[in-house]
Amino acid sequence: MRRTSKYIFSICLVVLSLTTHSQTKKTDTTVTKTNRYGLRIGIDLFKLSRSFYEKDYKGLEIVGDYRLSKKYYLAGELGNENKTVNDDQLNFTTKGTYFKVGFDYNVYDNWLDMENKIYIGMRYGVSSFSQTLNSYKIYNSHPYFEDTPIIISGEKYNGLSAQWLEVVVGINAKVFNNFYVGFSFRMNNLISNKKPDNFDNLYIPGFNRTYDGNFGAGFNYTVSYFIPIYKKKIEVTPVKKEMKKK
């Protein structure tokens, strides 16, 4: 619940920063709009903060996007995770590195020199990792002899990998100067998964928890810095647009 309220708070924050921006700029005549192009580099605060408050988790994700055209961005994430999962029947540790690359399409119509981004996008993700089975229990629905103990294993499965596709929905808003905050929500679908013998990839770095099928989900909350590289000027006649935007 605490995490949920944090999400809602951050969403409100981003929404607020967007709406205040859109209300301040109003002009009637033809103006020149400057589009800045460049590289935005950031870090996922969600993974970073989890590393502090969750003792079974260490993770870091660097995010980046490069503006290709008015609406399209080349985008990617590079990360590393170390997570121990303690379930009723199993305790295992997953360690590995992942890389995601794809594009974002900005559906938000920026007014004047605003540089916000509300986007949908796609990613191809690939992860290389290891799993260590720390301990397990044998499931016995009809125990008669002494209850089955927790069996300490420590068996390590190396050289595992997975590939998947993500559909991304997100938002990136300028807070001041070249600093941006954003978040994104991802729906993942596994396309390949190299599983260990007599175990399963129950967690995949970058993909997160796996379910029975190929489905997965993810989230990140980023702070990033924009490095401008070049500018484009466009003439705009804001007649109808302004009405619609309010």
Partner: protein, 174 residues
């Protein structure tokens, strides 16, 4: 635009809740040994035991079966042998009708991954009759040469590898 935010807030509020998985009862996990009872006079017919108590060697509490021709026998997950006393007509008022046979099952175990919720299961392979280096798949009344006991007249192994409970592993004729 507002709609998108509402949807996003909705989605995020659920993303932090993870349902605790529960091992589905229909998932085949560690099987019990399935024994069917047959009539020694008429070996193709099943025969019903009115009351049968099976009690693990050295244990005080047994498992009672009433009017059954099929029973499920839990095997010890921590050893390669399980020994039971099979008490026929348990609780009968006439002690002369109560018969006890001791049956030991010998097997090897393997641990197989099932799922996140169920963890692992143990599968058993009853020892092969032809392999003289291992004990017989079953030993009656502690004597490997015995083929019949006080009430058990004959035992056959139907399936050596125990995979689930929908199959018969051993037939007991009496």
């Amino acid at each position: 635009m507002k709609k998108i935010f509402i949807v996003l807030i909705f989605v995020f509020s659920f993303s932090s809740c993870e349902k605790d998985d529960i091992c589905d009862a229909n998932t085949p996990t560690t099987p019990r040994l399935i024994i069917d009872f047959y009539d020694i006079q008429n070996p193709s017919n099943t025969k019903t035991v009115s009351t049968l108590l099976i009690i693990g060697d050295g244990l005080s509490k047994g498992i009672l079966f009433n009017v059954k021709n099929k029973i499920q026998v839990p095997l010890d997950l921590t050893a390669d042998a399980t020994k039971y006393n099979f008490v026929l007509n348990y609780g009968n008022t006439n002690p002369a009708l109560i018969y006890t046979d001791n049956l030991q099952f010998n097997y090897t175990r393997k641990t197989i991954f099932v799922s996140r919720a169920c963890g692992y299961k143990t599968l058993f392979d009853l020892n092969n009759d032809n392999d003289l280096t291992t004990p017989n798949p079953f030993i009656l009344n502690d004597d490997p040469t015995l083929t019949y006991g006080n009430w058990i007249k004959n035992i056959t192994v139907e399936k050596y590898n125990l995979e689930n409970e929908n199959e018969t592993h051993i037939k007991i004729y009496f």
